[in-house]
């Protein structure tokens, strides 16, 4: 049982505000991923939860108990460091045994527990080696072993697989997720890699410049980003943005005027209503659309916009095609069979289901 609550956390380093007024509730046994670009405060947040840093303001509760001013050793947390932080002069066995030794367990119990952890992580064959003889993946396993051997309630991981090569990363991703289910601890995972975040997290917490941007399931943050930052940061490539302004079209329906091509597009009734309800009718807006929601046709169609092909990236299972809509570059995701010529004029249209509207001034989502 471990529920973590962060209340109005502020952490400053001299004049730099690393974490600014962060509120977050993490449920028991949940796998939460803190995601953001480097310097966004995600690691600082994690270190505050661990007790390695004390926040300047705010409270940290674990199981409703205020631990804000408790040292890391007084909280039941395990922390896996980005660069493993293994004890270089101790063998793998002694590294994993260290937290148990600190608890004062008997030699026999320690051996049992280390063996059990080594079994889970499949590192029994390297128990007598020193860290510097190990590969990155094995070092990571040892660091995990040291963390799980104590059966902690809270499991904190700081970019644990960021330094591994791509193939191995994928393998470790699945292993970590499985480990989380097996040990049943509340897990907070820091990464800058959205693929890791989306594939592992029950919920994803997106941060930028020390400020929390959005909390939600991977599905939510992908499909309903709360602001332009999240929309652009999540997804590869990120969302396309086109400046637009609402106006009244035929039968006084609300349409969006796209200034780059001097054309208007229709939008679903629901979005129209929201724009009116939120009094954004007169505002400058931004239309956001994911590359896979841009429909692409090499034939000229009615109700579609003409665009010119600039770049074609073939990715194997799909293609990313950059087209110019006026001066704006739009990335379109297509089936791999569609390979237009560079300079070819094509027509694109937007899937109404995939349309997101943001306020240009504030960057916040409107609909």
């Amino acid at each position: 049982m471990a529920e973590i609550a962060l209340k109005n956390i502020v952490k400053r380093f001299d004049s730099l505000v690393a974490v600014n007024n962060l509120n977050l509730r993490i449920k028991d046994k949940e796998f939460v991923v803190l995601l953001g670009p480097s310097g966004c405060g995600k690691t600082t947040t994690l270190r505050c939860i661990s007790g390695l840093e004390t926040p300047d303001e705010g409270k940290i509760l674990i199981n409703e108990e205020d631990v804000t001013n408790k040292r890391a050793s007084q909280r039941d947390v395990a922390f896996v460091f980005q660069l493993y932080a293994l004890y270089p002069h101790l063998t793998v066995y002694d590294n994993i045994a260290f937290p148990l030794l600190a608890q004062g367990l008997s030699k026999k119990r320690i051996r049992q527990e280390v063996d059990r952890a080594a079994q889970v992580l499949r590192i029994k064959h390297i128990l007598n080696k020193k860290p510097r003889e190990l590969s990155g993946g094995d070092m990571q396993r040892v660091a995990l072993g040291r963390a799980i051997v104590r059966r902690p309630e809270v499991f904190l991981l700081d970019e644990p697989i960021g330094t591994l090569d791509a193939v191995f990363r994928e393998e470790m991703r699945a292993e970590l997720k499985k480990l989380h289910v097996d040990i049943g601890a509340t897990t907070v995972y820091v990464t800058h890699d959205q693929v890791e975040a989306m594939s592992m997290g029950d919920r994803v917490v997106i941060m930028n410049l020390g400020v929390l941007q959005q909390v939600g399931t991977p599905h939510e943050v992908y499909n309903k980003p709360k602001n332009l930052f999240v929309a652009n940061f999540i997804g590869s490539p990120g969302m396309n943005f086109i400046n637009c302004k609402p106006s009244r079209g035929p039968r006084s329906k609300l349409v969006l005027g796209l200034s780059v091509v001097n054309a208007t597009i229709a939008i679903p009734d629901e979005i129209q209503r929201t724009i009116i309800d939120k009094k954004k009718e007169e505002k400058d807006l931004v239309l956001g659309i994911r590359p896979e929601n841009v429909m692409f046709s090499q034939k000229t169609k009615s109700n579609s916009l003409p665009a010119r092909v600039c770049v074609v990236e073939t990715m194997g299972s799909y293609n990313i095609i950059d087209v110019k809509l006026g001066d704006e570059t739009i990335k379109v995701r297509t089936a791999p069979s569609i390979v237009p010529d560079i300079g070819e004029t094509v027509s694109i249209s937007f899937d109404p289901e995939g349309i997101n509207i943001f306020d240009e001034e504030t960057g916040d989502s409107v609909a």
Binding site: A72, S73, F79, F81, A85, H89, P99, L101, R150
Partner: protein
């Protein structure tokens, strides 16, 4: 590689002589030549010469007549040294000196380093510099200075410690310890500096990991600090042991080489070599000391190499 073109002869062009420039390797050799000559003359040659002398009867004060002075006498010098009961007392006294002074320096130096490294106060740099001062002084001056401190009649040592008239210098039962105290005072900063260097090299994340692992300060010290500083402590130990074993200037400055002086090997070596002028006997004693130092340090170095792995 030379930037000049190589040519066999001096070049004569337009009636002007162009000298063949020197090759880099020649220049290199020329630069190290003075050092090599100096080393041979004042280190290498005396080393072998004294080895030769240690197997002979020779006094540097007598005129050199081959066959008489020096005269080869085999290992007689060595056997006389090793069978002299007084000599064993000197070995033991010297060993006692080494163990006490080096032991004291290691404990105090490492302790001070921990204190200074852990604490964070404004005058930290200044205090560290002040603590290092004794090490920077000339040992002879330090010896003479402490002789004054130790004076039983008007010395400040007894006065400051409120000890009354204790004779620290001419009492043979005590003056070895007086020199040990000065040695510790002078060389503790050396151990401290090396320890601070060692402590600063320990990555902070190891302590963070240990904090997460819920280690007590004692476990952190025993399992992280000590093993990580250990190689540098060994280096300090090696240096201090060598120095303490052959210490001469401090006892000479504080007590002198007279009858009341502690029976240290180095003082004895001085007496036989430069007072009674038994040069060959002194050479043999010097060689025995050299062998002891090499043997002791090679044990330490063995541990050092092990620790580095």
């Amino acid at each position: 590689m030379s930037i000049f073109k190589k040519s066999k002869k001096n070049d004569t062009r337009n009636g002007q002589v162009y000298y063949r420039p020197m090759r880099d390797i020649t220049l290199l050799r020329l630069f190290i030549l003075p050092t090599i000559i100096l080393l041979i003359v004042i280190n290498v040659f005396p080393l072998f010469w004294s080895l030769f002398l240690s197997f002979s009867r020779y006094s540097a004060k007598m005129p050199n007549i081959w066959g008489t002075n020096p005269r080869m006498i085999g290992t007689i010098n060595y056997s006389r040294i090793l069978t002299d009961p007084d000599m064993w007392i000197r070995f033991i006294t010297t060993a006692k000196y080494v163990v006490l002074s080096v032991g004291g320096e290691m404990i105090l130096g490492f302790g001070l380093a921990l204190l200074i490294f852990r604490s964070d106060f404004k005058a930290k740099g200044l205090i560290t510099t002040l603590l290092v001062l004794p090490m920077t002084m000339s040992p002879v001056i330090v010896g003479l200075m402490w002789q004054l401190f130790y004076d039983p009649n008007w010395g400040t040592f007894n006065y400051l410690l409120g000890l009354g008239r204790i004779d620290w210098v001419s009492d043979p039962a005590r003056n070895l310890y007086s020199i040990v105290i000065v040695d510790i005072w002078m060389w503790t900063p050396f151990v401290m500096l090396l320890s601070i260097a060692g402590l600063s090299a320990i990555p902070k994340y190891l302590y963070e990991a240990a904090e997460i692992d819920r280690a007590s300060w004692w476990l952190k010290f025993r399992k992280i600090t000590l093993p990580m500083v250990y190689p540098l402590l060994l280096v300090a130990l090696i240096f201090r042991t060598i120095e303490a074993f052959k210490i001469f200037d401090l006892p000479m400055g504080i007590v002198g080489r007279g009858a009341v002086a502690p029976r240290l090997l180095s003082l004895h070596l001085y007496n036989v070599s430069f007072v009674t002028w038994k040069t060959s006997y002194g050479s043999a004693l010097g060689y025995i000391m050299l062998i002891i130092i090499i043997a002791t340090t090679s044990i330490f170095i063995k541990y050092l190499n092990k620790a580095k792995q």
